[in-house]
């Protein structure tokens, strides 16, 4: 029995080796650079990073944008997952293609498409003016709002698919049982449907949040240099400032956030599953 398990776990060796060389090793080197100074090991770079108001502003903006992106994606994805669960045959195919196809389009193409949508004489502004909601074009491109909307769009499939997977497993008789026990639709949602689909929400939110805090191309294209995010700051440190210590420090901060998100969400998912 044990030898069987051992042999099966050997199958993981190529994957682990690949991860060690391509992922873990460079990351370790990077981390090492953030604490190695000419005077030996020191956390001075970190102290400097956290005491700088500008850096803290970027950190907060990055977290805020990621949180809002996750929230927006969740609000759109949750009902979508239920609609997909209802859809049958060709309609379901349409849904799945609509989810997957945009992923193959590439972020750059999409970002340029949005700039057409968001710019001063773009579709949204023309419509707003035509309805009479605004007199002058509203500034949308280069704002955080546009960034959140765009990012939520890109990451939507990563939110929808985990939720859809859970919704599909949901026993339809559970809400019915709740109804026959006197539960209003509202009570049913908050005491049956939502708790049972929460593992999908947690998984989708963890995916979306960790991708949103580290996104680089989308903010570069939508908001540009004016409003930096952590990833842009990292790129700038390495590429323009040639400050490897700063770059690797910020990378470590970003990595720490990502690890916290992953650990916390898998702890939460396990807890939710243990209850079921």
């Amino acid at each position: 029995m044990t030898s069987r398990i051992d042999r099966i776990s050997l199958l993981a060796v190529p994957g682990l080796a690949y991860l060690a060389v391509i992922y873990a090793l460079p990351l370790l080197i990077l981390l090492a650079k953030s604490i190695r100074t000419p005077d030996g090991i020191s956390f001075a770079e970190y102290a400097a990073f956290f005491s700088d108001d500008y850096n803290m502003g970027v950190l907060l903006r990055t977290l805020r944008v990621a949180a809002l992106t996750t929230l927006l994606a969740l609000l759109i994805a949750y009902p979508t997952a239920f609609a997909m669960n209802r859809a049958k045959g060709p309609m379901l195919t349409v849904f799945l293609v609509a989810m997957v196809l945009p992923m193959s389009l590439g972020v750059v193409v999409k970002a340029f498409a949005w700039s057409i949508l968001f710019r001063a004489n773009g579709f949204i502004n023309t419509s707003l003016q035509w309805i009479g909601l605004t007199e002058k074009p509203v500034r949308m491109l280069f704002t955080e709002t546009a960034l959140v909307i765009g990012a939520a769009n890109v990451f939507l499939p990563f939110m929808v698919l985990p939720i859809y997977a859970v919704v599909r497993q949901l026993d339809q008789r559970l809400p019915e049982a709740a109804a026959s026990l006197g539960a209003t639709p509202f009570f049913r949602f908050f005491h049956v449907t939502l708790p049972l689909t929460l593992p999908g929400v947690v998984a989708g939110s963890a995916f979306t949040f960790s991708m949103a805090i580290s996104m680089y191309v989308i903010p570069s294209l939508i908001v540009g240099e004016r409003q930096q995010t952590l990833s842009m700051l990292i790129a700038r440190s390495f590429l323009y400032l040639r400050n490897e210590a700063l770059g690797s420090t910020i990378s470590a901060v970003l990595l720490a956030i990502a690890i916290i998100v992953v650990v916390f969400s898998s702890w939460l998912a396990r807890r939710l599953e243990a209850r079921q």
Partner: protein, 359 residues
């Protein structure tokens, strides 16, 4: 709709003129079904005959296309399920997997707005009723099938429903446990005077548990009667076949002979009281325990195809053909008969069931 009205108040539950289609396919039309207060009623029928559909319409989980449902004088046809005060025990119990046993039982009380602190006593009572007190804090996944069934019953009863609906509540249990649970549940419901409707496709279960049985076939009720009437006087060949096995023979009426009608069958002449015109095709039947070797006014001769010694009874199988079947059940273990023996079997004229066939 015309201004017809259901006769309110006459029956406790009055399902009246109900019709239902799924995507243009009629599965139920002009269904009429009435249950009195405190009755235990079974819906018995083959798979797909519409038992669950009727139950779901009564519970409000499905909308009827036509007709109405009246409960205790209230027209509940357009009321959503959560306002009807009708509890349902589902086939696989549909317990909430994210809640403990006690939380499952408390669900209906909480949904009705009872404070969390107040649910303790009624939940404890309900769990004691189904003897699940010591499992209160267990998660659902840690329970056996029979235990889950008890929790489902406790959850349904704790809210004090006006009507309890059970959709094949025992089908996931093994035979022994099923029989125990049937007895337990029946006495529980009788003690508390609860009106209940069971769905089942097991005729023994229906006969053991209920005051009256509605035998359903293809979206219609073929007969609605107490178990003994249903068994001794089935209203149609379908009911005769579905409720218990019986001897059944294709027959042709030869007309009256005094007070009786004489029928020709492949195994001999059979007499019965029903007046069936000469030349009409018919089906004659008799319950197997009423058939005796060498006794009775009606006699048929057959070769035994099988002799099954079952312990409490011995069953003789005879007859052959698509329709014809001869069954004789004798109490206890009988030896001295074997496959291939030629026997004469008989029964009383008064026990003969006759169904004229329009053709």
């Amino acid at each position: 709709m015309t201004a017809e009205k259901a006769p309110a108040g006459r029956h406790y539950l009055d399902v009246w003129g109900v019709a239902k289609s799924f995507k243009g396919t009629r599965v139920m039309s002009d269904m009429n079904f009435r249950v009195e207060r405190g009755e235990l009623v079974s819906l018995l029928g083959p798979s797909g005959c519409g038992k669950s559909t009727l139950l779901r319409i009564i519970a409000g989980l499905l909308d009827a296309d036509e007709g109405s449902v009246v409960l205790d004088g209230r027209d509940i046809t357009r009321q959503p399920a959560h306002k009807r005060n009708i509890s349902v025990v589902f086939q696989n119990y549909a317990l909430f997997p994210h809640l403990t046993v006690a939380e499952n039982v408390a669900f209906g009380l909480r949904a009705r707005g009872m404070a969390k602190g107040a649910t303790g006593a009624p939940v404890a009572d309900a769990l004691a009723l189904v003897r699940m007190t010591e499992f209160a804090d267990r998660p659902i996944a840690a329970l056996s099938g029979g235990q889950q069934q008890r929790v489902a019953v406790a959850r349904a009863l704790v809210v004090g429903p006006d009507l309890l609906l059970l959709d094949e509540p025992f089908s996931a249990l093994d035979r022994k446990l099923r029989e125990t649970m049937q007895v337990e549940l029946k006495s529980l419901l009788l003690d508390r005077g609860i009106t209940a409707i069971f769905v089942t496709h097991d005729q023994e279960e229906a006969m053991g548990v209920s005051d009256r049985i509605a035998v359903m076939n293809a979206g219609r009720i073929e007969q609605f009667a107490d178990p003994s009437t249903l068994y001794s006087r089935p209203a149609s060949p379908f009911v005769m076949d579905f409720v218990g096995l019986s001897t059944r023979l294709e027959a042709v009426s030869k007309g009256r002979d005094g007070d009786l009608t004489v029928f020709d069958t492949a195994y001999g002449k059979v007499r019965a009281q029903e007046n069936i015109p000469a030349g009409t095709r018919a089906l004659v039947g008799v319950r197997p325990e009423l058939v005796k070797p060498g006794e009775g006014e009606n006699r048929i001769a057959t070769t035994l195809a099988d002799v099954m010694v079952l312990g409490s009874k011995t069953v003789l199988h005879g007859g052959a053909g698509e329709v014809d079947r001869i069954l004789c059940e004798l109490p206890g273990i009988r030896s001295g008969m074997a496959r291939g023996d030629k026997v004469e079997l008989g029964w009383a004229v008064g026990d003969t069931l006759v169904y004229g066939m329009a053709s």
